[in-house]
């Protein structure tokens, strides 16, 4: 008798925090015609059933997006050198991608002095002086306001095209991630006085045929 009561009490006691844990992890994404499933879909779905990517990104930024990238970041100088030495093994060791036809993405962490800030184009960049990267190995950070590409979304382990109804929803995730970074992470770099200072960063870059490294940061700290 006592055992049953205790068991029930235990079950109740566990179910509430477990429910909170489950609902709080917010994975969605199957927004099918029937209106989606679960609490996460409700909070990240528009009235017409389409994905509310902006809310999804804002809700998952600190709890899922940043940690996922931090956990997979390798030192930027290691990655750049490995790519220069043997691209195929570097891709295998450090690269991530969704589809076989897509280029590889690399999540990196680093700390370097900002050589210069270029805001002539709306797609601004900060050129970094990365230790141990020599020659043409120019490493730049995207600082916005225009952010190019989808390196951040494509580097996340929990975002897969198959989980979305169509390309538009999948594309909107990338757009909102970029916009979030632009507004909440990169504003300091555009302020004008970051040149010459040391910046610590976590971000991702997509392999390109010309070997240029353009990192989209997900986290940035400019030393005073």
């Amino acid at each position: 008798m006592a055992m049953h009561k205790a068991a029930r009490g235990l079950a109740l006691g566990l179910s509430v925090p477990l429910a909170v844990l489950f609902l709080g992890s917010c994975t969605i994404v199957k927004n099918d015609v029937s209106g989606g499933s679960g609490n996460s879909a409700k909070s990240s779905t528009n009235a017409d059933g389409s994905l509310d990517a902006k809310t999804f990104v804002a809700q998952n930024w600190s709890g899922k997006i940043v940690p996922d990238l931090e956990a997979h970041a390798a030192k930027v100088e290691d990655v750049v050198q490995a790519l220069a030495k043997d691209a195929a093994s570097a891709e295998k060791k450090y690269g991530r991608r969704g589809d076989e036809t897509a280029p590889f993405n690399f999540v990196v962490v680093g700390s370097a002095r900002i050589k210069s800030i270029d805001t002539e184009s709306a797609a601004g960049t900060a050129e970094l002086d990365v230790p141990d990267v020599s020659g043409d190995g120019e490493v730049r950070l995207q600082i916005g306001p225009v952010i190019k590409g989808s390196s951040l979304r494509d580097s996340l382990s929990f975002i897969k095209f198959g989980d979305f109804v169509n390309q538009l929803d999948y594309a909107n995730i990338s757009r909102e991630i970029n916009f979030y970074a632009r507004d909440n992470v990169l504003a300091d770099l555009r302020s004008g006085d970051a040149a010459g200072k040391v910046v610590s960063f976590v971000g991702a870059f997509t392999e390109d045929s010309e070997g240029s490294v353009l990192v989209t940061p997900v986290q940035v700290k400019v030393e005073k």
Binding site: K30, D32, V33, G98, D99, T101, A102, P103, S121, A122, P145, V146, K148, G149, S150, K160, F161, G162, V165, N166, Q167, L168, Y170, A171, R175
Partner: protein
Amino acid sequence: MLKKAFIVALSLALIVGSVFAADQKLIVIITPSHDNPFFKTEAVAADAAAKKLGYKTLVLSHDDDANKQDQEFDTAIASKAAAIILDNAGADATIAAVQKAKDAGIPSFLIDREINKTGVAVSQIVSNNYQGATLGGQRFVELMKESGKYVELVGKESDTNAGIRSKGYHEIIDQYSKLEMVERQSANWSQPEAYTKMESIIQAHPDIKGVICGNDTMAMGAIAALKAAGKGKVIVVGFDGSNDVRDSILAGDIKATVLQTCAYNAELAVAQADKFIKNGSTGKPEKQLTDCVLISPKNAKKLNNFVLSK
């Protein structure tokens, strides 16, 4: 002893005989009209890949008519096709047809355009139109030096890819405040229609600096109208990666396009169909996104029939 040998020989003969007598399996290939080289290339590539694997084939076009597509599905079902390779006539309208085929035991392998439901088709090998459009949009912005008046020619409204590409273009272009869109019209993927529309647009806006087009056939129409008006230097960017636009890029007219690897996608679909027919699964997730590639004067020479060689 002799009797045993005879039985073995007879069994072998029967087995061999049944292999030879077995009906060749049929793969039905359905795409939009072959008037557009993009769809023709898909159909030809799928057809060749299927035949190479020993299938008989039936190649059909739905002309972007969902009803016609439906009838063609009925044909495939009546013919007891082993698989359907499809570039579909509508992301919502097609769901029922693919379900009907599935219920009849026929798996569908979609290419190029997706449908808005998973779990009905076996594979959806989709071109990443949005990613391609951001590539084209980004190149357009660079060529425009981030400022100036431009025109957008949009594809057929009923084709979801028209809207997807437009959105991709605008995700990039709208971030540049000095770029001004003075006109946005649909030319329905048509070269002659793009020509006529461009003629009128030039008269209303003689000072446009660029034209961004939802596809290559419209880009061809636009550049022809611009050249006829003495405005061949206007920046024109297309989408698809056709031989016509390749030649135009090499001649210095159209400035860039975005390649959709449709031949590769079609071959991939057939390979997955074959695997599914033989093993009951493709070994891949249903939705597969294949990236597009920017084509510019730098790599246009290596492009032929929607294949970019190394």
